[in-house]
Amino acid sequence: MISAKLYILQRLTALIMAPLVLGHLVLMIYAVQGGLSASEILGRTQGSAFWAIFYALFVFAVSVHAAIGVRTVLFEWLKIRGSVLELLSWGLGLGLLVMGLYSVYAVTA
């Protein structure tokens, strides 16, 4: 049960995430060479406005994207309908948003 509006939102957020995920992946492959350490990660991100915006954008996009995606799965596979469906999916979105933004703050502040 997905209307044009949600569909468009999901595709737009996917488009936003595409370069971000790609960037993140490349970075990960590059970064894990030689193992990960907390200081290494934090050294790169802390105080960087670039990374703050980069990850915040991702968090916004993914919250919406995943909420809509999970909503479809809940509807089709778990047969969840009505307000429970809205609550669960948007709850997930909100949770992701809050936790995500907090973690972005944690690694970039």
Binding site: M1, I2, S3, A4, K5, L6, Y7, I8, R11, T72, F75, E76, W77
Partner: protein, 247 residues
């Protein structure tokens, strides 16, 4: 010397949605034999109470859809050789995703209700006293409309689509395919209403591009492509509206 003809084991899923059971029959193998012929033989010579539906017997009416070895097919045009494995056994059941009336007969009303709900009906821009529209057969719109129009509403694609199984409200491939054809029909009016209908909660955006509809369509239509095109069309029109209202 008399040679016993080979027999085919035919398992038929009988009963209704509430209570169903499988029954096995042995049917003599013939040179030219369709799955519909197997079922007919059983009804005419073995068990006169077996129920099934057909009309044209040549792939034009779309009333003989059944699940054959778990796959949806038009049975009047499915040669037994095509589906008979080395085990010489065939399973036949009622077409999927539709309520069963009895044995192999399903209620196709939901399928057609959706066809209408999606706006799958021509809205005239002219009447019978006006001249017939001149149409360029090679124009892009007409080509699209034409490609999608030769559907026999057999419901095979509908039975093949897992989104329909998962979401009973989903209009399904055939109805959306018809909508796409109409959206491209220069003669039809009120296309906005069709676009609205296809972008609603039961509309084209529920399709996950599994493409079984196109795989199984016996007429080699491509509902999957039609649906993708509808998504594109809706996307463009929504964006346009958005920009329009922003002005």
């Amino acid at each position: 010397m008399f040679v016993e003809p080979n027999t085919i084991k035919v398992q038929i899923k009988r009963g209704s949605n509430q209570s169903s059971f499988t029954q096995e029959f042995e049917v003599p193998e013939q040179d030219n034999q369709t799955v519909l012929d197997l079922v007919t033989y059983i009804q005419e010579y073995i068990d006169p109470t077996v129920s099934y539906r057909f009309a044209c017997r040549v792939g034009m009416c779309g009333s003989c859809g059944m699940m054959v070895n778990g796959e949806p097919r038009w049975t009047c045009r499915t040669h037994v050789k095509k589906v008979l494995g080395s085990s010489k056994a065939i399973e036949v059941g009622p077409l999927g995703n539709l309520p069963v009336i009895k044995d192999l007969v399903v209620d196709m009303d939901p399928f057609f209700d959706k066809w209408i709900a999606v706006g799958g009906v021509h809205h005239p821009s002219k009447n019978r006293h006006q001249s017939i529209e001149k149409i360029d057969e090679s124009s892009a719109e007409r080509v699209f409309a034409n490609e999608a129009v030769e559907c026999i509403n057999c419901g095979v694609c509908y039975a093949a689509c897992d989104v329909v199984s998962a979401n009973n409200d989903y209009f399904g491939p055939a109805a959306l395919n018809r909508a796409w054809s109409l959206v491209n029909d220069v003669k039809t009016e009120n296309k906005e209403a069709i676009l609205d209908a296809v972008s609603g909660n039961s509309g084209c955006h529920n399709c996950h591009s599994q493409q079984n509809c196109s795989n199984y369509c016996p007429n080699e239509l491509n509902p999957s492509a039609s649906i993708a095109s509808l998504k594109r069309k809706v996307f463009a029109s929504k964006i346009k509206n958005l920009l329009g209202s922003a002005k």
